[in-house]
Symmetry: C2
Subunit: 279 residues, 2 copies
């Protein structure tokens, strides 16, 4: 039996709490507000931003989409992030990817005030997270932990394996698991024997962006698999990095795609905005 660890209900719970807190803040004259800076005409990015804006509005968080266009320069983006950082009416700032002309998120996000860096994109946030100091973690990495906690998956002393070493997911997820006293292994494209590594996992987090990478040969029967992948399918749907068909019946638990990490991530972006507005 493989348990399906849905994120839909958890996302709903977090958003309900966000709504209540947003209402309470508004009564005190603080109107929680999130700014999403976009510098791309990428369609899936636009879809994601619309979904954040819609969810925010429903939860009582104002969301401004600041569209700089695909012709924006790094200097222009940095200036906008600095302006928003200085604006006391803005509590949270997200810089959406992809960025124009090979600009790196990590470099530009240095211009986001860490107190408003609710998706943990500023390297200072990552450093503070790694050092065990208060910081907003990237929402996706935080969603991995929120899901594991929601389903009461034990972490201390367990072996956690993270596949993928991106700055936005793999590396911060590894730090969060380490902070919870898991023994953490980070695998990636150069890992010599991926299946041997991932079979060691009590908790397996996959964040690579390759549909169906993880199959039955990659897992132990007691494994809990958290699938961060969101790979577009030819029929307009989404597929995870894990091959759900191959894993079903072969692992203890698996997060679905869609409906797993995704809804929790969006809800946590809002929760981080509320936290930033509550200071």
């Amino acid at each position: 039996m493989t348990a399906i660890l849905s994120g839909t209900e958890l996302g709903r719970q977090i958003r309900a709490k966000v709504s209540a807190e947003a209402a309470a803040l508004s009564e005190r004259g603080v109107h929680p507000r999130l700014a999403v800076v976009v510098a791309t005409d990428d369609e899936s990015s636009a879809w994601y931003v619309r979904s954040i804006a819609k969810t925010a509005a429903r939860s009582g968080v104002r969301c401004d989409v600041v569209d700089l266009g695909a012709a924006a320069t790094p200097a222009g983006i940095t200036a906008e992030l600095a302006r928003l950082s200085a604006d006391p009416a803005v509590h949270g700032i997200i810089l959406q990817t992809p960025l124009p002309g090979g600009a790196r998120l990590e470099e530009l996000a240095t211009a986001i005030d860490p107190a408003k860096d609710i998706d943990g994109a500023n390297p200072l946030s990552l450093g503070r997270l790694t050092a065990g100091l208060p910081a907003h973690p990237p929402a996706t990495a935080a969603a991995v932990l929120a899901l594991l906690d929601h389903y009461a998956v034990p972490l201390a002393g367990r072996r956690a394996v993270v596949v993928g070493r991106s700055t936005v997911v793999g590396k911060p997820a590894a730090q969060l698991l380490l902070a919870r006293n898991a023994t953490v292994t980070i695998c990636h494209r150069h890992t010599a024997d991926l299946a041997a590594c991932t079979r060691e996992a009590d908790v397996l987090v996959v964040a690579v962006g390759r549909a169906g990478l993880i199959t039955a040969e990659h897992v132990a029967p007691h494994a809990v698999v958290v699938d961060v992948g969101t790979n577009p399918t030819t029929d307009g749907g989404l597929a995870g990095d894990a091959d759900a068909r191959s894993l079903t019946g072969r692992v203890a638990a698996l997060t679905p795609v869609p409906g797993g990490v995704g809804p929790v991530t969006t809800a946590l972006l809002l929760r981080h905005t509320i936290a930033a507005a509550s200071r």
Copy 2:
């Protein structure tokens, strides 16, 4: 046969290069200068600072020891770090531990200008390192990699296991190994079966501060062991975290304590200072 990976000769080589570069900089009117801020009367700390100062002087790097005394406050330390950060004649800044009254290095080091943070103590340096952006890594973590490179130990695709998750050694060493395409596991006091984990290592880095923790049962025969531990012995000497007697003949290679990571660390502090002065 266990090869002994001495750091003495590598330390010498780095210092020779530092001397030549310091002389070249001085001719151009730039006098490389390092400031070590001390706020403790801890004797082993004083010994370490004297050894840095002596080595720096021999290599043509001026080293100012700024002794604030054990009664220094966090605010006083922060103010001094800010003053040194603003002083154009100072190129490198180290905040020595221990710190008074439970102050955390990671928190206070935020006041060190990242460009002068030659021991990578500012969380921004750690975040930039983790994100793959230019930054000074902590000298001890950098020394681990320098030793492995000096002895041409392959890393890409190999399994590296780091025991210890401190902000100054374990975590940055793990990031540096990951950046070199090793598959990295981080173990610590909560790891359920330490020996089983460490036996997976092609490269084993131990940075815990417990003399003799790693014995023959913890290693594979082909392992290269880098011992970062410097534990005082009752006879006034130093012992590593690895039990050298138990490992000799049981691993491919081992760094000695003293004379392994230590001399390379000091030399790299000076190399980082030269790099900061060369901007």
